[in-house]
């Protein structure tokens, strides 16, 4: 029996949800299950949202056209992570990045791998690294991470609105 007095306790707070993503995100998740990144285009401003919502938050109109975007893209900004959090076991330090997939007008947060942390830069061209096909599920986590493409960096002007 320990002699040290108790000074702290762990008290987990847990919430169990039934998550219903709605029609447009459901479509996106079905695409992920098949290894496709799907978005939808606003008929008014022509911007492509990934994952798609029901309508355009800027124009207030319903989306119509479904668009498949590429799994290559541009790293528009990133953070070097030096502290792991519960249930996340990735070798430190690692890079969490915002990637604009080609054909999309939004960015997605993804893990960046395959390059030393101190060589990661804004504008870097990247490609999705997918989990093995038999592990694909209805989740964006099918994209395990992105890794560098052997291409020149994108021009800052081309992605500055996403920074």
């Amino acid at each position: 029996m320990t002699a040290e007095p108790i000074t702290g306790i762990v008290t987990p707070i847990r919430l169990d949800y039934t998550y219903t993503p709605g029609t447009s995100p459901s479509q996106f998740l079905r695409g992920m299950k098949e290894g496709r990144i799907l978005g939808r285009r606003c008929p008014s401003c022509a911007k492509v949202y990934v994952p798609p919502r029901g309508g355009c938050p800027m124009c207030g109109v319903e989306f119509a056209e479904e668009v498949r975007v590429a799994d290559t893209g541009t790293l528009v900004t990133f953070a070097v992570v030096n502290v792991n959090f519960a249930n996340r076991v990735i070798d430190l330090p690692y890079v969490s990045g915002e990637v604009r997939f080609d054909g999309s007008d939004t960015t997605s947060m993804v893990l960046v791998q395959g390059i030393p942390v101190d060589q990661v830069r804004m504008g870097m061209r990247v490609k999705a690294h997918w989990l093995p096909r038999d592990e694909w599920d209805f989740t964006f986590a099918n994209i395990d991470y992105v890794e560098p493409l052997d291409e020149p960096d994108a021009d800052y002007e081309s992605y500055k609105e996403f920074v």
Binding site: P5, G8, I9, R14, L15, Y17, T23
Partner: protein, 146 residues
């Protein structure tokens, strides 16, 4: 129209809470299978012991705790027909307020007894966890006293 997906989703925050001197001493007592309370300004023995007096807001003495019995009387109870994850029992059970012998207030916990057998005034005792660690679950539950 795409059929809408649905999936279970759990979110959990593993909070670490500092206990402060009074709750820390109470939990340390449980680890030794002892239940501790504190005497408040009105002379009542309060279990579990609060850090401040409910009437005067004065700091109560964490180094002058009073041990009470591990047996007492049910002063109130409420049936829980649908236990949730992490509660003391998976099957329906009663939450009880137990005034332990030597205490003047009720301690909230679970009672392992059939619903028909439960009544205010019944004598119950603590069933200790096999391996106390310094947590409220060191009291596994209450059970009817023989």
């Amino acid at each position: 129209m795409t059929e809408v997906l649905s999936a279970p989703h759990s979110m959990e925050f593993p909070y670490t809470r500092s206990t402060g001197p009074m709750v820390g001493a109470f939990l340390t007592g449980l680890r030794d299978r002892r239940v501790l309370g504190v005497r408040d300004s009105a002379g009542r023995v309060v279990v579990p012991p609060p850090e401040y007096d409910a009437g005067t807001a004065a700091v109560l003495p964490a180094d002058e705790l009073i041990e009470v019995a591990s047996e007492g009387v049910v002063t109130s109870w409420s049936w829980n027909p649908k236990p949730r994850l992490g509660q003391p029992f998976e099957q329906p059970f009663a939450w009880v307020l137990v005034q332990l012998d030597g205490a003047d207030t009720g301690l909230l916990h679970a009672l392992d007894a059939p619903r028909d057998a439960i009544r205010t005034g019944m004598r119950v005792r603590i069933r200790w966890a096999e391996e106390p660690v310094g947590f409220i679950k060191d009291i596994a539950c209450f059970e009817p006293a023989p």
